[in-house]
Subunit: 221 residues, 2 copies
DNA sequence: AGACAATTGAACCGACGGGTTAAAAAGGTA
DNA sequence: TACCTTTTTAACCCGTCGGTTCAATTGTCT
């Protein structure tokens, strides 16, 4: 049978077409939401036709879910690049916070898809149980930091890994997700490079500080 | 003319009908977004008809904007109830954080409308310049706390009021806005009463801690 | 070549839903 | 009563858009 090797030399190979569709669909869904997106608008951005979208993905909702899954794994893969080996707990946590903050900024479409999922009460995301492992992985990293931080007597002993992850996510996510309304209400000074550097520094300081047993003993920059 | 007194005894007075429409529209728009909401669904929830909605509000987008404005002023009015007079800066800030955290929890529809506005890049909110005064008021409160905190030597001297407001908003907002996806990914333990109390305590601790000149001198609970 | 499967295009369908028409009913004024 | 303005109802209009039909085309296998 060997479909994977031989038949992958069609006039135009379907994997490329599918991923072309996914790419355009991601940006359309991120921009306009599920009900706000028109399939024809997606088609217009691809090298193929509306017909092909239904041929490959069945219907709009399935396409949306494929986009969500695709985007999620890409972003999670990006997270795996962070290497905290050999760092002491405080430096490791600092670096994790900085990385997460930057990583969210680099992936605005992903943030928007998550916003949209929240509007839908995570209806579609719940179906994607493939994510659970990756999520547990993210928590695992924090658990490791917490454990060695407590062992070294540096961290408070009531730090909960999931709550810590929540804190990091909250600041990183809000920064991207609520930029538009925050700017509309209070100006966009916090969103130029200097402002972002300030917010990132504050994020590191506040989270580190709330986790440390004796904050005064550590340079919070 | 005196329309306000005499003609307000129609069979059914229009102000009541309008606010009935606004009430239902708010919950529909909050639940389904702008494009996701069907005017007929709004009508079905009111005591009046679809025709009336167009009669009073013109079109869908205008209704949406009316809802946004209505909801915004209601929520902002609720904030005015907070009284920080007579508190020292640390207690005032602590109380402001706790209040904001709780206040967001109490107004999920408002949060959802803001999420939706962010999806639309705040397009409609920008048009509502009536909010600017109320926003400046919110910052004013924080400015006052910062000023006296610095004067008393309790706060760092580089605390920026808008950045502080950003921190408070980020945690309070994320807590409500991202509940669905966070739960889907990491379980809902943080969203029962005990979990919420923990997050609130952490929020107070981390923000206070990052603002204080000498965190170790203050009981962070 | 001929049979068969995978892929594509163009035209079409039908319901959904925002917005309108037309006209009646209700209230106010004199 | 006659006449005007405001409010309400029911039926309708029509563009949009998710999804389909059907046949043509392209490629593979033998």
């Amino acid at each position: 049978m060997e479909k994977e090797t031989k038949s992958r030399r069609w006039k135009q190979n379907p994997e490329a077409v599918k991923s072309d569709i996914l790419r355009v669909a991601r940006s359309e869904f991120a921009r306009n939401g599920l009900s706000g997106t028109r399939i024809e608008d997606i088609a217009a951005g691809t090298k193929t036709s509306k017909r092909m979208i239904f041929y490959y993905f069945g219907d709009k909702e399935s396409l949306y879910e494929a986009v969500l899954e695709d985007c999620y794994s890409e972003v999670r893969a990006g997270e795996a690049e962070l290497d905290l080996e050999g760092l002491d707990p405080v430096q490791a946590l600092r670096r994790l916070i900085e990385f997460t903050f930057d990583h969210h900024r680099r992936n605005p479409d992903f943030i928007r898809l998550v916003m949209i999922e929240n509007i839908h009460e995570a209806r579609h995301m719940e179906r994607m149980q493939r994510l659970q492992e990756q999520n547990l992985g993210a928590i695992g990293v924090i658990e490791g930091i917490c454990k060695s931080g407590r062992a070294a007597g540096l961290f408070r002993d009531d730090v909960a890994p999931v709550a810590l992850h929540w804190q990091i996510s909250a600041l990183s996510f809000f920064n991207v997700a609520n930029r538009a309304t925050f700017s509309a209400n209070f100006g966009d000074a916090l969103f130029d490079e200097a402002g972002q550097a300030l917010l990132r520094r504050n994020a590191v300081r506040s989270i580190l500080c709330s986790v440390l047993a004796r904050p005064e003993t550590v340079d919070l920059r």
